[in-house]
Assembly symmetry: C2
Homo-oligomer: 585 residues x 2
């Protein structure tokens, strides 16, 4: 090894040792008589000391070292006179006896510091320099530690990691597949998996009992902010289980991760139906770090002569506790905020519950103090609170009020980054109606089992059927989801029928799974977690990109390696393909 120790491990107890360190020059300070060089590696920073009096030549050489030069230095560990308590190695320094330059460096395009001067684009292009910075490196270390913990936890409870294939088969259902042309089977294509869903179900049919995999998945989607064309799932499946067995098993995993990664010893998991989540939070992934539930006010607020409310399907509000002092300006600004197209409300009604017990609202023309008091009682409000009310059709009203709730939570400091609230949202609808395609689509995927009580409705009222499906939501972020699967071939065939597949289409696309169900498929279910997302939640960053070593940008490009890129015509010839400029975008 070109070092005896790394740059993070030497302490006062090591003084008098002769050591060799290798690393990068973080900075150097020339103080006349002394020159100090901070040497950095993955493990820390150690100060190298050069003395002009005792070793002038060496000191002069050290003064030539540029930032990010790679050097190897040998010397004695000595106690520092001026100690740096912030740095674990800050009580010692190395009095260098000899050193060699292993490699030089041009001046980096941005500073290698925790707070860098480099913009996003530049840091992406030079990602290998960005990773040298503590915050980025620590994100990757956190990701590694999480993966190790997840694997060992699941291994300890009999889960087996099985690698499923990456070159699989394209299915038109769901998001777009990436295709991979086959050279040996010209004119035919593999597809990259959007998830190993069918394979993990086949592993259950195969009797593997408990499967997991931390696995790359792929979606050729138009990339919204914070989506990546390739992402990583913690994919799991179990046999002979009910929903609650699965929720408890993975609560166990989540609790373990909270403990080892965040030092949080006790955390609870609530459960809420999709219907309640929508009714009380206007979202299927409510942030439950704070209450501020919706109160529906149709009874109290309709038929009192205010046409906007009277014409509405839903009148609902939230109680912004302690906000009665909001100024007119603040309220106008909030009103504009909810009317933005992203939120989509037509307007905002407010009621101030003043400290003196009186009410002041934007609808005083239509409602008297007594009526407003009824609202306040329904909303459990106290003097000093502010009621914010939106009305209209049910779904958009809930969505807008949900956004407003999140915004007020943020403004009131109720969404604390160091607090975690975990929630299983259960009993999702099985199907979604698509107006454009005039057909139902599976809300999760076509293998999700309906709730047993609702199976009959598949024929009579498919839109009402609830799925035996669940999502894990932490702090309003969907971390994962899954379901109990259909394991009966007739029910699966029925499901394909409801989804508008002809028997032939179902067979062509999923024949192997339908076949497998004929040979003793066990009851099974599972879950998949977004690993990138979970890392970012624990790491405290908003963007999954910060937890991916070499991410792609919003156009799906890797700007560092400059990919995707044109290929040689010969390669296309071999694949039996040619470019079709007519359809080029």
């Amino acid at each position: 090894m070109m070092r005896s120790h790394n740059c993070g491990e030497l302490r006062l107890t090591d003084t008098t040792k002769i050591v060799t360190l290798s690393g990068w020059v973080q900075r150097s300070r020339d103080l006349g008589g002394m020159t100090f060089v901070d040497l950095r590696d993955r493990y820390g920073i150690t100060q190298l000391a050069f003395n002009m009096e005792t070793n002038k030549d060496l000191c002069m050489q050290a003064r030539e070292l540029g930032r990010e030069f790679v050097i190897s230095a040998k010397g004695e560990v000595v106690e520092r006179s001026s100690k740096n308590k912030k740095n674990p190695t800050g009580e010692i320094e190395i009095v260098v006896q000899e050193f060699s330059i292993l490699n030089v460096s041009k001046t980096p395009p941005f500073t290698i510091e925790d707070d860098t001067d480099g913009g996003d684009d530049l840091r992406m292009k030079y990602r290998y320099l960005d990773i040298r910075r503590n915050p980025v490196r620590q994100n990757l270390v956190l990701r590694h530690k999480m993966a190790i913990e997840i694997r060992n936890y699941l291994n300890n409870i009999e889960f087996i990691e099985v690698e499923t294939p990456v070159l699989i088969k394209s299915t038109p259902e769901g998001a777009r597949d990436f295709l991979v042309p086959s050279r040996m089977n010209a004119g035919q294509f593999y597809a990259l998996p959007q998830s190993p869903q069918t394979f993990k179900q086949l592993l259950m049919v195969a009797g593997m009992d408990r499967y997991f995999q931390i696995v790359k998945c792929f979606r050729d989607e138009d990339l919204r902010a914070d989506r990546q064309p390739e992402f990583t799932q913690i994919d799991c499946e179990m046999s002979f289980v009910t929903r609650d067995d699965i929720l408890e098993t993975f609560e166990g995993l989540a609790k373990h991760l909270f403990k080892v990664m965040k030092g949080i010893e006790s955390i609870t998991f609530d459960r809420m139906s999709y219907a309640d989540a929508m009714k009380y939070y206007g979202s299927d992934k409510p942030d439950t770090r704070f209450e501020m539930r919706f109160t529906e006010l149709n009874e109290q607020a309709q038929n009192k002569g205010f046409k906007v409310f009277d014409d509405a399907e839903l009148v609902a509000g939230i109680n912004a506790t302690g906000c009665a002092e909001y100024t007119r300006k603040q309220l106008d600004e909030l009103t504009e905020w909810v009317k933005r197209p992203q939120i989509g409300a037509k307007g905002l009604v407010y009621v101030k519950y003043n400290a003196d017990g009186s009410f002041k609202s934007s609808v005083d023309k239509f409602f008297n103090q007594e009526q407003l008091k009824d609202w306040a009682i329904a909303m459990n409000a106290q003097p000093g609170d502010l009621l914010l009310i939106i009305s209209g059709n049910t779904d958009p009203t809930r969505k807008a009020l949900g956004e407003l709730r999140l915004e007020m939570g943020k403004r009131l400091g109720l969404r604390k980054p160091d607090q975690f609230s975990c929630l299983w949202v259960v009993d999702f609808p099985l199907l979604e109606w698509d107006e454009e395609a005039q057909r139902y689509f599976a809300m999760h995927h076509p293998f999700t089992s309906p709730l047993p009580d609702d199976i009959e409705m598949l024929s009579t009222d498919p839109g009402k059927v609830r799925a035996n499906a669940y999502d894990l939501v932490i702090n309003g972020v969907e971390i994962g989801g899954g379901s109990i699967r259909i394991f009966d071939k007739d029910l699966q065939a029925k499901m394909f029928e409801v989804l508008g597949f002809s028997a032939e289409e179902a067979k062509a696309q999923f024949g192997f799974l339908m076949d497998a169900f004929q040979y003793g498929a066990p009851p099974h279910g599972g879950v998949a977690f977004g690993f990138d997302r979970w890392c970012s939640l624990f790491g405290g960053s908003e963007s999954i990109r910060d937890y991916i070593a070499f991410p792609k940008n919003n156009s799906g490009r890797d700007v560092m390696i400059d990919s995707p890129s044109p290929v040689d015509i010969k390669q296309l010839d071999e694949l039996g393909l040619k470019l079709n400029p007519a359809t080029k975008s």
Copy 2:
């Protein structure tokens, strides 16, 4: 859970417990008064007992159960009267009180037994049934355990697993890439990685110090036997190391695996130069479980009037100890064997060193007893041994003699499956001359560092330059390989020049790496192991396919899901592609 215990865990100490088991009907035996059903899951087999006298109805129902039906049964654990010591649960059985059929099964297309009646093709098509068989399932469990052990071992010595991208950039160098058309960047393509080579080097430039990844890699090669288009590597890289640091680090990993996976406490690792491996074993991956080294006989055997030898570049032989009694028929058969096109020798000369000290050879016309004795001395032979000699041009002679050595090792039982011999082959040639392309190719890849002593020859005699590269060979199987990398941008540029890249081509394909080398690249090197291969070595099977859950066949097809397959023309339109029937094979 639909069970209180699994089918592998109940023992005599559990008697009188009321338990619920779920699993598959392995077989049932109807003995008149009693019916026994063997219930199977991943963990084992437990016998269910049904008594015609005490519960006739239930017993009659049990008799209807077909093979591979999925059932859940509740009953009491009782001691068996006739115990089965071969089965860990064989001392007890469950007297069933009630059971339910969770799913029925058609009769499987082959028997779910250790020795099945199913042929390869059938088992591949119904892989989910094949995995139910013990040998296949155990292979996947072994693979999982190896992966867990590898990760924990490397994690404990500061290696960090970093996921590198799967959608990367095509490079014409090396094997063929799988291409992935980009929809958002029409006319452009990603490629699937043949290895994360450049990314792991960038991670070293990024200061990650010690990286590993168990990762899928892809090669669009014409599939020879036992190759897969997607395969898994244990990919590793370290900074600030010399070759020996790397060899010692990964000997540590290998020793750990031998211990935990095979129960082998002490195993040694030899080192041999590529030159010696070729000279003494005729192979860069010699099986060193047995000696039988080549002896070169040019001095002893040439210029004695035997034209075949006199015209040969090389005369070399092996000593098949104790084989002097081989019959004429056996020797003729061996001669035919080495003359097969796969072996390619022109003939085989034998010398029997008889028990009485005399010699009998196929070249008695040209060599007298004294001369043959010289050969025997050179080859360290004793009375009773058989000398087998091949001559011709050096490379084909070595290759043929190497094959003969392996064959004789096999026939003599010297290649014991439970014995392991580990060897690092070092100092490979850096370059290979390609006659057809009239240029050098990198024997490993263009990033491999030459041995420091040989760097000067890059300009004068590139073919002679040795690489700082190494392979790990176990029992004649190449398990992995790697090298110290070039980390100097000028040397890397020189290397591209020797490989016939123009400066522009080098920049277009590897510009990001050359750029990275300008910003303080540390000395680094690494290794990659074939995970599938290592599993098969430990599992005792010849084929890596046995250790892959869902392998592809020799045409790169997954016959279970029927992939690759044609896709919708709409999908191609979106990608700006069309089929090019002119080049269709």
